[in-house]
């Protein structure tokens, strides 16, 4: 079956709209792109989507950007990948700079700082929810849970109790993860 091949401007527009109007991070964005690229437009197959999704999860950095690069590359090659990554990041990055500038400019306003204080507290809760979401899918069964706790607890203790920096912790995790089968 021959898949439709969009123009670069059309491809960029799809990533621009979905990437900059979907809140909640990577997973909602990848789900929205699945509906748009696989189900609605037929630009990639479900198998393409699954491969890109799997590889995005083992690519360093922000998973959703790797996913966008991969599926856009499948559709229009490297120029599509570059356009998709730029379309997803640049408008949101401009907004992030404006918000940072705004937060700093309002620093002397006690009313605004009260609102910002509330959001800063929410960030702490959000970071702990990220920890929860990273750990919970790796639990289940005594052996799997024990393995997860060794990696999670070991990294936490190494950093918190002994002040080990992240790179050695990650390097040890890679080696131990290769040697200790699930």
């Amino acid at each position: 079956m021959i898949r439709p091949r969009p123009a670069l401007a059309r491809l960029t527009q799809v990533f621009l709209v979905i990437g900059n109007t979907t809140f909640g991070g990577g997973n909602p964005t990848m789900a929205a792109l699945q509906r748009e690229l696989v189900d609605r437009r037929g630009w990639i197959t479900q198998e393409d989507y699954a491969l890109a999704y799997a590889l995005a999860n083992i690519t360093p950095g922000t998973n959703v950007l790797a996913f966008c690069a991969a599926v856009a590359d499948l559709i229009l090659g490297v120029r599509g990948a570059i356009a998709a990554v730029l379309a997803v990041t640049v408008p949101s990055a401009v907004l992030a700079v404006l918000l940072t500038y705004g937060y700093e400019s309002w620093r002397t306003n006690s009313i605004v700082m009260a609102a910002i204080g509330g959001t800063v507290a929410a960030v702490a809760g959000m970071m702990w929810s990220s920890v929860w979401r990273l750990v919970v899918p790796n639990l289940g069964g005594l052996w799997k849970t024990a393995r997860a706790m060794v990696f999670f607890g070991g990294a936490f203790l190494a950093a918190w109790r002994f002040g080990v920096t992240p790179i050695p912790v990650i390097a040890v995790a890679v080696l131990a993860g290769l040697l200790w089968k699930e």
Binding site: G19, N20, F23, G25, G26, P28, L51, L55, I58, T59, P60, G61, T62, N63, V64, L65, A69, A70, V78, V88, T89, V90, A93, L95, A96, V97, T100, E104, S110, I111, A114, A115, G117, G118, A121, A122, G125, M127, W128, S129, V131, L134, N138, F151, F152, A155, F156, A158, A159, W160, T165, V169, I170, A173, V174, A176, G177, L178, K181, E182
Partner: protein, 173 residues
């Protein structure tokens, strides 16, 4: 700070993490603890700015770059966020077939779990800075529970927390 060094430090953070906020421990170690270019409060603000809007979670690095180097810093922050995404292109062609290898997947899971441990460790000083009383503690707990056990969007939690902080100030709670 030299803009190339800023890019390389932010790139180091993105290249050694596997999700948006997982780069936070590296950023805190380099910019707050080692080089004193950011305070914990500024790092918190950067995370808030990156998460209040749409787009990938890793965009808080753009705000970190802005704090350290102004607009050029923000630009290299964006570049550091985008760069690792293109590592997937050779992977698609050459190692796609090995993505389901149990050994590779086991190593990836180990890195994800270690990242979670590092994230917990680096979040504790930030939380100590953020929790200033009973109300902020309540916001932390409610946000954690809502994001773990409901499908509410994190942006709504940010806006809700801002509204609660504002209301508390106006009502002098």
């Amino acid at each position: 700070m030299n803009i190339l060094l800023l890019y390389l430090l932010l790139l180091k953070a993105t290249c050694t993490s596997f999700s948006g906020l997982a780069s936070l421990p590296m950023v805190r170690a380099d910019f707050v603890v080692e080089r004193h270019l950011l305070t914990d409060r500024q790092l918190n603000t950067a995370v808030v700015a990156g998460r209040t809007g749409p787009g990938p979670n890793g965009l808080y690095l753009v705000s970190v770059g802005y704090f350290v180097g102004g607009l050029p810093g923000a630009a290299v922050g964006l570049l550091a966020v985008m760069t690792p995404a293109f590592f997937i292109l050779p992977m698609m062609y050459w190692i796609g077939a090995r993505a389901n290898s149990p050994r590779i997947r086991g190593a990836i899971r180990a890195v994800v779990l270690a990242s979670a441990g590092l994230l917990l460790s680096s979040s504790l000083p930030l939380a100590r800075d953020a929790i200033t009383g009973g109300l902020s503690l309540a916001i932390v707990i409610v946000t954690f529970l809502a994001l773990c056990f409901t499908s509410v969007d994190s942006a709504w939690m940010m806006l809700g927390a801002a509204a609660v902080g504002l209301a508390a100030k106006l009502l002098r709670i």
